[in-house]
């Protein structure tokens, strides 16, 4: 016999009572799902405030949360004007990088010799740190939008390439046999089978690429830019304006987080079937 919890009978009186209890438990669980992360963030803010206030940290070393909020409100137009170019660079780079990754993966899967020649090259190029690649590209492409977009595209390209290659080739062997039995062409196998099979992989790489693209754009701006969140971060650092610095960091975080959420939402409405890749 199961021990009954306080306030709960061993047997529910009716189906309706059981349903009510079930719904109440669901509501409780849902509430916790929301409140626990909020508690986490609130705790972090409190800890930050407590350290700054408790150790009398001077504002030019680290600002208090309050100072950051004031700066956010005070500089909202400046922040927004600098967010726009960074967002354009990150999103543009993201789109180009992801598209190029898909395209190259499709070519590699269909032409093994090309894959054998160029994949090691891609691995080596990818292992050059972004901060080292950035100056090279700025020298080649000038100081406009182009080098930042290119850097962002570069960092998005590689995770997309690797995941897409995996997704396009990890097809269920029985389904592959089926496609051969129904005499499907390579084109049909690609568009009806491989591409769909790769979609969950593509989305998990795009979730990585979304935040990587913002890193790429900001690093690109550090090398040479007068506008953008990256430029703003440098200016604020040199001016010891920690409030603005932290506000700028929050803006770049919001950008990366927003892109991430957009991808996650798009994934949720696209991948309607269960896959081992989905979370």
């Amino acid at each position: 016999m199961n021990a009954s919890q306080p306030g709960e009978d061993v047997f529910p009186a009716t189906q309706a009572v059981a349903l009510q209890r079930h719904l109440a438990r669901r509501r409780r669980e849902n509430m916790w799902n929301w409140t626990l992360p909020v508690i986490g963030f609130a705790g972090l803010l409190f800890f930050w405030w407590a350290v700054v206030a408790g150790f009398h940290v001077r504002p030019f070393i680290a600002p208090s949360p309050l100072l950051v909020v004031t700066s956010l409100i005070h500089n909202r137009i400046l922040l927004f004007n600098n967010l726009v170019p960074t967002a354009v660079e990150a999103i543009g780079g993201f789109l180009i990088g992801v598209f190029a990754g898909i395209l190259v993966a499709a070519v590699f899967v269909h032409c093994k010799p090309l894959q054998k020649i160029f994949f090691p090259v891609a691995v080596v190029l990818n292992s050059i740190p972004v901060v080292a690649k950035a100056p090279i590209l700025v020298l080649m492409l000038g100081s406009g939008l182009a080098p930042k977009v290119t850097i962002a595209a570069f960092v998005c390209f590689f995770p997309t390439l690797v995941n897409m290659m995996e997704g396009l080739s990890s097809v269920d062997p029985q389904v592959m046999e089926l496609m051969r039995i129904i005499s499907a062409s390579r084109m049909q196998i690609f568009f009806k089978l491989r591409l769909y099979n790769a979609l969950p992989h593509l989305f998990s790489s795009m979730r990585i690429a979304a935040s990587m693209s913002v890193i790429g754009a900001v690093v690109g701006e550090w090398i040479g830019a007068t506008r953008g969140i990256g430029a703003l971060i440098l200016q604020a650092t040199y001016a010891y304006d920690t409030g603005l610095l932290y506000a700028a960091i929050i803006m770049s975080t919001l950008l990366a987080g927003g892109l991430f959420l957009a991808i996650a939402y798009y994934e949720k409405i696209t991948i309607v079937w269960p896959s081992e890749r989905s979370h």
Partner: protein, 271 residues
């Protein structure tokens, strides 16, 4: 060999039946590294048009390889395969072959209806006609109400029905089934066995059915092809002399039990 075919069709109208499938001294070896494994050795076999042949044997006896030979997925290392008077690959190109795998092998991003439509899409049939055909096929398999369900919303038995519908939708002349019900529970398997005989009698399709279930083989087939393992070869071909309009209850009859006992003894000999 001819005698056995005659015996097998004893219960059906006596018309001269053409050979649908002929293997002559077929051997298949696979090479891995420096070693070669012989999956099928010196198999010679005739299958009549419209026959239901059950392939029974232990694992590693080349049952699946034999099916893949017929489907044109595996080429014989030696010997000749003839399917519908031509080579397996050409028969495949003419869409004369349907295949049902052990797991339904459905595309998870397609609904039942869209899965059934896949072969017709690939052969670029008129979409309107294809859709009507697919709906009819699903109705025939008793899945009319679930046609818009995704595979993960269907039970294992239903998924296998979709898979059979997909194999039959292009009106193949030969249906190859590779342990299609092995992963299902017994009740579902019995139901599908009965249904498969109904489908076979209604469509007149030639069926090669691989199984490692003695009862399944004896219930389904007109002949049971017993295979031995390592290397895979034919041990014996056992004709099944049971009524053509049999139901599952025949499994309690004396003849059926005698047949099952014989198959079991053959299985145990020399393995």
């Amino acid at each position: 060999m001819g005698d056995t075919v005659q015996q097998a069709i004893a219960g059906r109208p006596r018309i001269e039946r053409e050979v649908c499938l002929r293997c002559t001294d077929v051997t298949v070896s696979f090479f891995s590294g420096r070693q070669s494994v012989t999956a099928v050795q010196n198999v010679s076999l005739d299958v009549a048009r419209g026959e239901f042949l059950a392939l029974l044997g232990p694992s590693g006896c080349g049952k699946s390889t034999l099916l893949r030979l017929v489907a044109g997925l595996v080429q014989p290392t030696a010997g000749v395969m003839e399917v519908l008077g031509t080579s397996p690959v050409i028969a495949q190109k003419r869409r004369d072959i349907g295949f049902v795998f052990q797991d339904a092998a459905l595309l998870p991003w397609r609904t039942a209806l869209e899965n059934v439509a896949l072969p017709l899409e690939v052969s670029q049939e008129d979409p309107g006609r294809a859709r009507a055909k697919c709906e009819e096929m699903l109705e025939f398999m008793g899945l009319g109400a679930r046609k818009h369900a995704y595979p993960h919303e269907l039970s294992g038995g239903m998924r296998q029905r979709v898979s059979i519908a997909r194999a039959l939708v292009s009106n193949p002349k030969i249906l190859l089934m590779d342990e299609p019900f092995a992963a299902l529970d017994e009740i579902t398997r019995d139901r599908l066995n009965e249904e498969l005989r109904r489908i076979w009698r209604q469509t007149g399709v030639t069926i090669l059915f691989v199984t490692h279930g003695i009862y399944e083989a004896a219930y389904l087939g007109q002949r049971v092809l017993m295979l031995a393992a390592n290397p895979g070869r034919i041990k014996e071909i056992v004709p099944v002399n049971l009524a053509e309009d049999r139901t599952l209850s025949i499994r309690e009859s004396v003849e059926f039990i005698a047949l099952a006992t014989r198959l079991r003894q053959l299985m145990e000999v020399g393995t």
